[in-house]
């Protein structure tokens, strides 16, 4: 077996050193009734070629976005990732290392995390950021629990523009800790509605921009009003590329920011692994979940980096920890950081403008088709249209024609009022030809 270095001679010698007759002697503590005497009923050992053929056969049954005009978004986006990113993250020293518990031999990972935290802080316009969470949705949920710890209040109000998967994830975790949640009815452009639902028990309002329908909103006034009522504003961003063009959550007054970072550096990979970016105001630092990397000095006075403030964490505080999180999304954070460094603010602004221009060009073309209503008033690279037919059916017809034409809102949230709503994302990877093909196909099927 190619992954197992011991041979029979090694095993015999080692058993002799141990003083055991056979390897079975090492499993004597297992109750006799539970000892399997033969391999379970699954296929036996297979070589690289056979395994590769099996996995490739499954891959071949999927329609690859790289082969067809592609407009699917709603929380995960197809962007160009420079080849360098994937090369670097596959270096042994990054790929096959553990959480940096021994900082003297993990300065590579630690310096990357320090740079990552700084990038996230600057991108979101917030003073502090952590070393990543699982993804945007769990980051949003952690943000809600953090707001409960800070305000000692017990209710979260979620905007109707929040991605329904995020709403559902927050509800699951918030209810687990005994919090109440109020999820407002989905709406294309009604973020300020949250303010009407704040009461003395409201810990936070959760608002997404651009929201799940693509609508971008200035949250400055919502922040002020929420904070005046003693609640925190949690800003959710599912398309991090938008921060190259749009005002940052920090500038708008956010208390906590939860971002899905996938768009920068991380492949779509059918939904995961992704990377949650998490940032907050400095005064809330000690209530933050997850790992934090901090600067310090070594015994010679030289700069170095360590994981810090671990007295918040489960391995020290056990049942008093701020979160149970341990493993997070280190390698995806690295990929994010490399891609962000390659872009720089100059590249980020440029690609953001291209996204904006392409999305608006497609919206204009679609809006001119009879029967289609373009609903999103202000947007970055994603917008919602209302079709004269059921969106889920149209999407299937388009897929059969080799076009992946967006996400029906009912895929995320079942509600007949939204049967005809289709969310369409346009990134720099979409060509003019792709757009023409989409417009032509849609005209044909409507």
């Amino acid at each position: 077996m190619r992954y197992l270095p011991l041979n029979e001679a090694d095993r015999a010698q080692m058993l002799a050193t141990i003083g055991a007759k056979s390897v079975d002697d090492l499993f004597v503590d297992v109750p006799a009734s539970a000892r399997l005497t033969a391999p379970v009923d699954l296929p036996r050992y297979a070589g690289e070629m056979e395994v590769e053929a099996q996995i490739k056969a499954m891959a071949a049954k999927n329609l690859s976005p790289s082969r067809v005009p592609f407009f699917v978004g709603a929380g995960a986006y197809r962007h160009h990732v420079p080849s360098t990113v994937d090369h670097i993250i596959q270096r042994s020293e990054f790929l096959t290392s553990y959480t940096p518990y021994q900082p003297e031999i993990a300065q590579g990972t630690l310096q990357v995390l320090f740079e990552f935290q700084t990038q996230v802080a600057r991108l979101t316009g917030m003073p502090v950021a952590n070393a990543s969470l699982y993804d945007g949705s769990t980051a949003a949920a952690e943000g809600v629990l953090m707001a409960q710890r800070i305000t000692k209040r017990n209710k979260a109000v979620m905007s109707g523009g929040l991605h329904p998967h995020y709403t559902h994830t927050v509800e699951t975790l918030a209810h687990a800790v005994g919090m109440e949640t109020e999820a407002l009815t989905p709406a294309v452009d009604a973020e300020a509605e949250v303010l009407k639902h704040i009461d003395k028990d409201t810990a936070c309002v959760v608002v997404q921009t651009p929201n799940v329908f693509g609508t971008a909103t200035d949250l400055t006034q919502i922040a002020e009003a929420a904070q005046a009522a003693g609640a925190l504003l949690i800003v959710v961003v599912t398309e991090v590329m938008s921060l190259g063009l749009l005002k940052s959550p920090g500038e708008m007054g956010a208390d906590i920011v939860a971002v899905e970072g996938q768009s920068i550096g991380v492949p779509l990979s059918f939904g995961g692994p992704y990377v949650g970016l998490f940032a907050a105001k400095e005064k809330y630092l000690r209530q933050m979940p997850g790992r934090l990397c901090g600067e310090t000095v070594d015994a010679d006075g030289e700069r170095g980096f360590v994981l810090t403030l671990s007295t918040r964490e489960q391995h020290i505080r056990r049942d008093k920890a701020t979160s149970n999180i341990c493993t997070n999304s280190g390698l995806c954070a690295l990929a994010f950081s490399i891609h962000m460094s390659l872009l720089g603010q100059e590249g980020l602004k440029r690609v953001a403008k291209i996204n904006y221009a392409k999305a608006h060009a497609l919206k204009d073309q679609l809006a001119s088709i009879a029967g289609i209503d373009a609903l999103t008033p202000r947007f970055f690279n994603e917008f919602t249209i209302k079709l004269p037919k059921v969106a889920a059916e149209i999407v299937e017809v388009l897929a059969a024609k080799g076009i992946l034409g967006g996400v029906p809102f009912t895929r995320l949230h079942k509600d007949a009022a939204f049967d005809n709503h289709l969310i369409i994302a346009v990134t720099e990877t979409v060509s003019d030809t792709d757009m023409s093909a989409f417009v032509a196909a849609l005209k044909e099927v409507l």
């Binding site: 077996m1 499954m58 021994q102 590579g108 935290q117 493993t327 720089g344």
Partner: protein
């Protein structure tokens, strides 16, 4: 002095002895380059990606457009490559040497797994494409589920949790939902052994349960008498790691499961150590109701410097109905992704995350499983246990073992009794290993053993590498013991590491004056 034809010295005879205090002018150490932060290069105009700078008029956005300065520096491709390669060389890695972190299972990561995760049709597909266009992806998830269920002897699995602790949360939420469905919502206590991973009590507290600690016997297992005395009618579950964090199999596990079930509670097993028993023991046969499986441990998806992981949770018949959305159903006429939980089970407790979990890890883990097969996975457990016992047998005459009787499982636990009277602590000993080229073992965990040193070699170490490790530890141990009588070797430990990219770091300063971002 010997010279070559152009008068260049060819032997080092005349080179002055290098002082231990030698410092380079650049701050680097030869191949280990000093590397500034990207922010210290202060270049905000450069970019390593060639996008045209187009003109747009974002009239719909108005005041929402951001100002020009984001404070994010850019690097061209060659600069980026240098930056990250230089940083990478300051990391220890499995590919470099033994990484014996107990409980963490740092085994070889096969590169075929990486290749498969990047296939067109796997790495690039979107979670919200029509399911008719991702039938192969759903088949892959269903196949992984089948392997996990068969290997554990459990009837159901929730794939979506994103790491071990997330899996623990999923398991406890299933248990909570089951109790509530049966009108047993008053059960709010979780029994946790004193040796448990920190995530266990943290997760229990997270779901609003209180934690009641179970004592341990002198042979490192759950104290059955103490357990019995602590089972009251408010107990919701026990969270037990097996093999436990002392590296020992819980001999009474079947009895423990029966006690728990008889009391109307559920048995959550922390599956962090499944690597020790895969293919030889099915947790379902032990009475387990829920267990997370760290795909990044047992099934070798890379640890990546701290994730991403994946923590699918296998569930017993009693809990299966409460599994979170989404799940995959093989309808016989194609695969269906059930995202709302309406059809098969309205009892699901909710959703763990957006989308369907860690597909990139599923494909790596399945590739690993298909490669090993049922026979190879059994061999994995046997070799992992053999390697750990070999280390224990080869060191226990010089280092002290808290539970000497009987075999250990996949990890060998030592304490610091043998260091009494020396000038060396567990921390010093661990740091001295760094100078010898090895990553330290897990130290000061489990908490129940004083000065614990937990060594998990895994099955992917050759005997030659194990022998090299054992010889090194024996030599270091002898040096540590010598400090009982003289001070010659004290600096080796107290000042260690001497040869790492940095010296020992001031963690107190980092915590007292937190500096988490540049500038």
């Amino acid at each position: 002095m010997s010279m070559n034809a152009v008068g260049r010295p060819t032997r080092p005879d005349d080179i002055a002895e290098t002082s231990a205090e030698f410092k380079s002018l650049t701050g680097g150490k030869g191949l280990l380059q000093y590397e500034r932060l990207i922010f210290e290069k202060k270049d905000y105009t450069r970019t390593g990606v060639d996008f045209a700078d187009i003109d747009i008029t974002p009239s719909d956005l108005g005041d929402l457009v951001r100002g020009d300065d984001l404070g994010l520096p850019g690097l061209t491709e060659p600069e980026a490559m240098r930056h990250y390669v230089r940083l990478s060389q300051k990391n220890h890695a499995i590919d470099l040497a033994l990484y014996p972190l107990g409980s963490c299972t740092m085994k070889h990561n096969p590169r075929l797994n990486e290749k498969m995760a990047r296939l067109e049709g796997i790495g690039d597909i979107h979670p919200l494409q029509p399911t008719s266009t991702v039938q192969g992806a759903l088949e892959l998830m269903d196949t992984l589920a089948h392997w996990l269920k068969t290997l554990t002897g459990m009837p159901a699995v929730a794939l979506s949790p994103k790491a071990g602790a997330h899996g623990e949360l999923c398991g406890l939420l299933s248990i909570k939902a089951a109790h509530e469905a049966k009108g047993q919502g008053h059960r709010r206590t979780v029994l946790v052994p004193s040796s448990a991973h920190g995530t266990n009590p943290a997760t229990a507290a997270f779901v609003g349960y209180s934690v009641r600690e179970i004592a341990q016997t002198s042979d490192g297992r759950v104290d059955l008498a103490d357990l019995k005395s602590k089972i009251t009618d408010d107990v919701a579950a026990i969270m037990l790691t097996n093999p436990n964090t002392c590296g020992l199999f819980e001999r009474d596990i079947v009895d423990i499961a029966k006690l728990i079930h008889d009391a109307g509670a559920y048995f959550y097993c922390d599956g962090a150590n499944f690597n020790a028993i895969v293919g030889r023991v099915r947790p379902g046969d032990l009475g387990v109701d829920a267990m997370h499986i760290n795909l990044h441990k047992t099934f070798s998806t890379p640890h990546g410097g701290g994730g991403p992981g994946a923590g699918p949770v296998v569930l017993s018949e009693a809990l299966a109905a409460y599994a979170p959305t989404p799940w995959v159903v093989n309808s016989g006429n194609g695969y269906v992704l059930e995202e709302f939980g309406e059809e098969a089970s309205a009892a699901n407790f909710g959703r763990m995350c957006a989308f369907h979990g860690q597909m990139g890890m599923y494909v790596r883990a399945l590739t690993y499983m298909l490669s090993h097969g049922s026979d190879g996975l059994r061999q994995v457990a046997e070799d992992a246990v053999l390697n750990a016992n070999y280390i224990k047998a080869s060191l226990q005459d010089i280092m002290s073992v808290p539970f000497p009787d009987g075999p250990c499982m996949h990890e060998a636990l030592f304490d610091d009794k043998w260091l009494e009277g020396t000038q060396v602590t567990t921390l010093d000993f661990a740091k001295a290993m760094i100078d010898e080229g090895f990553h330290p073992m897990t130290m000061y965990f489990p908490l129940v053993v004083h000065g614990a040193m937990l060594i998990e070699p895994t099955e992917t170490e050759s005997k030659a590498e194990l022998d090299r490790f054992i010889d090194t530890l024996r030599a270091l141990a002898a040096s540590a013991l010598a400090t009982k009588n003289n001070t010659d070797d004290v600096a080796r430990f107290k000042n260690a590491p001497h040869l790492a990219p940095t010296r020992r770091l001031d963690e107190t300063k980092a915590a007292r004056q937190p500096k988490l971002t540049y500038g």
